[in-house]
Amino acid sequence: MENPRHWRLNKQRYALVGEVCPHCEAKIFPPRDVCPECGGEAKNRFGFSGKGKVFSYTIMRDAPAGYEHNTPYTVAIVALDEGPMVTAQLTDLGSEKVEIGMPVEMVTRKIREDVEKKGMIIYGYKFRPVMQG
């Protein structure tokens, strides 16, 4: 269940909404109480463009419980254009080969769903190869 723990992250997960530090302008994701760059209080909301590049990636073939029905899937560290890096699945890869440095864009997808299809579906950011040139 754990609905509250996921619900409180809806905004950031659905749309990659983070923060911009009012003191040093650093773009922050995920939102934090303290700016990791300058140590000031971080609180101003900032919507990321969702554009970034693959920093590294791995293909998960042996997934933990809750994800085993989605294997194989690719997880990447994505360096967002605005600065921070995030960990997320790559999706809609088709037959495209993933490469470090590949431009990607954020999409909102199902992240996790119980096999019995009784619980809440968790939606959140994933990335796919950029569609438009």
Binding site: T58, P64, E68, P84, I111
Partner: protein, 388 residues
Amino acid sequence: MTDVVVAGIGQIPVGDHYSLSLRSMGVQALNKALHDSGDLKPDALYIGNLLGSTLSHQANLGALFTDYARLGHIEAYTTEAAGASGAAALRVAYLAILSGYADTVAVLGVEKWSDVTREEADALLSQELDYDYEAIPGLNSAGEAGLLMQRYLYEYNLPKDALAGFPIQAHANALNNPNALLRKSLTAETYASAPMLSDPLNLYDGAAYADGAAALILTRRELLPKNFPHPIVRLLGSSVSVDALSLHDRRDPLAFNAVKTAVESAALQAGIMPVYTDVFELDDSFSIYAALTLEACGFAEKGTAWQMARDGLLAPGAKLPAMTMGGCKARGNPIGAKGVYQAVEAVQQLRGAAGPNQVKNARIALTLALGGPASTAIAHVFDRVETR
């Protein structure tokens, strides 16, 4: 300053102990260590464990183990630092003696893994990641290592099998360790044809998780029993350092900065340079962790540690003997107990009791346990006291 010495060591083989409970495993290791110490009476027990409260539904391990090991109503509790939990318990024990608060302390590293399916256990182990921002997107510990390995191979333009030397060395060493999980050699061909776990990380790049329990008895040197039968091994340095929990929150995920800080600081306390180490029980939970560790410690230039493994420089008789009893890869990875196994193995080497894998004239040993991908790094330096 008082000399803190390791009076007793004990371990059970790492494996699938279906017939042993969490408590039985821990008590067996404790009893062996107590017996080895000449039946010292500890004032405190510190337990390294990660999964007890979730996988075994058992917390409050201090009360459990003091009761079942019949240690009396002494101070006892668990330390948790993911895969470095056992090393954290060792550090707390060391500090307790140094502070003057305790004289003799027992350290227990214990982990029960085999009671649930691998997928269930793996999901619980994902607690060592940033749960909301790494585990929920579908990553696990092997996936984190896969991300690091991919980036490493990319930055240094290396072939997929570059890291093969680490598991090959670990397997060779485990052949001579009766407590090891995987006592069979690994060939380069077998490595190269192994199935992928988290590409480019293959089956042999990740240590198998298993049940395990190991224990140490620390005391002040002057409290050792008369006619103490073993060479005296001192604990000279202990340091813990941390990095960002998530890989994505590090400026350079390949840097393993926590390893560098912990090892340098522990060595400084011990009054040695890391290069003086005769034995290095490093954390090869994943091959890439071993490579990044050697580079962070300055044993190899960035992008070259894999050559040390390939060229046999980590073998028991070579330049930097590492993973001497099989490492995590072949001795097995008992997670929260790992750090205590490493200390037990370091003491075996310094006592000259390591059997066929004995490093000749081993005087200084370094252990390093990692929680996650060096999110936590805990280093300890031991030496053998030269007897008259």
